[in-house]
């Protein structure tokens, strides 16, 4: 559906019954891949919500004191322990990579191959930095004796929730980084201008693919916002 036809449709709340009426496309003006990515992200939200739910329930119902995240995740900077230092840096790195991703999507739609590729590459490097810092954090905590079944700081559930939630999020980031590098190569090679067929899909693609990848990447950032609030700050 082109922009002119979209503009003629009803807007606001009235658009819902008119869009969802029988025998028509529900999500108008939304590329099918983008629609499917949104539905995947919604289902992924359900998975992360299950983790959040079990974490809140587990933390709320244990009779032992919960480890103080402010102290557990403190890092020594010049001999002074700074609370949540690494986590704060990770948050800023991930937000920055989300910003560069938004730029990549914008320049992709403007068919600016060079800037789109550069911003995709920056996003990938940001993600890689994030995963690196998470690996450092994991190894530090494992070294201090945190296990899924016990830890020296307090309630034993802490370890299992920590490794499950940050591990699952880290996996998402790692998969995102892999795809960011693949798509950086595709952009620089000009796949989305020449209509070169994809290796796996055997289909032509265009710069909408960057927005779809962007949705996934922003979702990863979104999940981190919730993890930062509920796990590290709560």
């Amino acid at each position: 559906m082109d922009q002119a036809a979209l503009k003629k449709l009803p807007r606001g709340w009235k658009s819902i019954p008119s869009d969802l009426g029988s025998d028509q496309t529900a999500f108008k003006g939304v590329n099918w891949g983008k629609g499917m990515m949104w539905i995947f992200l919604l289902s992924d939200t359900f998975i992360f919500s299950c983790f959040l739910l079990s974490y809140m329930t587990g933390r709320g119902s244990t009779v032992q004191p919960w480890p103080n995240p402010s102290e557990v995740f403190a890092l020594d900077a010049f001999g002074v322990p700074v609370p949540l230092l690494l986590i704060a840096i990770m948050t800023f790195v991930l937000i920055t990579s989300s910003g560069t991703m938004a730029m990549a999507v914008k320049y992709g739609y403007e068919k600016n191959k060079k800037l789109c590729g550069i911003f995709l590459l920056l996003t990938a490097l940001g993600g890689l930095t994030f995963v690196g810092m998470q690996a450092f954090e994991w190894s530090k905590l494992i070294h201090e004796g945190v296990r899924p079944w016990e830890n020296p700081f307090g309630a034993p559930q802490f370890g299992s929730f920590f490794f499950m939630i940050t591990g699952f999020h880290g996996t998402h980031v790692s998969i995102g980084v892999i795809f960011l590098f693949i798509f950086t190569r595709k952009v620089f090679r000009g796949d989305f201008d020449s209509g070169r067929k994809g290796y796996f899909t055997s289909m032509k693609s265009n710069y909408v693919a960057i927005e779809i990848l962007g949705l996934y990447w922003h979702f990863v950032d979104l999940v981190w916002v919730f993890i930062f609030a509920f796990f590290y700050l709560w």
Binding site: Q3, L9, R11, G12, W13, S15, I16, D19, L20, A26, F27, K28, G29, V30, G35, W38, L42, T45, F46, S49, L52, L53, M56, T57, G58, R59, G60, S61, T62, V63, S70, P83, L84, A88, T91, F92, I95, T96, S98, G99, M101, A102, M103, K106, Y109, E110, G214, L215, H218, F219, D221, L222, V225, F226, F228, A229, F230, Y232, L233, W234
Partner: protein
């Protein structure tokens, strides 16, 4: 030419919007870090954490993920299930309070 520019604007947005949102996200993250730094406790801490969290999530979804510019059908299909989940989480937090009460009552005080 004017027609072309209009078409472009339908799918791309001004650079300034993204920079603004980026800046706001930085500021909000800084504020939520400050909540821990200043060691706010109790209800004040949880309220501030939740406010900054929802503001950040809203900004990311509305502008970075373009939901602000999408049609209402897609927005509603996404937001209502998420509201339902948030309610479920709230219910289970209340449930956990009851669980910890019974555990203290029967296992800690009663033993």
């Amino acid at each position: 030419m004017a027609e072309n520019i209009k078409k472009e604007q339908a799918t791309t947005h001004k650079l300034g919007i993204y920079l603004w949102i980026w800046g706001l996200l930085f500021v909000l993250s800084f504020f939520s870090y400050m909540v821990d730094w200043l060691q706010f406790q109790g209800l004040l801490r949880w309220t501030l954490i939740l406010i900054f969290m929802f503001l950040k999530a809203g900004l990311i979804m509305a502008f970075f993920m373009h939901l602000f510019w999408e049609r209402y059908t897609l927005v509603n299909v996404l937001l209502w299930p998420m509201t339902a989940i948030a309610t479920f989480v709230g219910l289970m937090v209340a449930e956990s309070k009851y669980t910890v009460f019974t555990r203290f009552f029967y296992f800690v005080l009663g033993s």
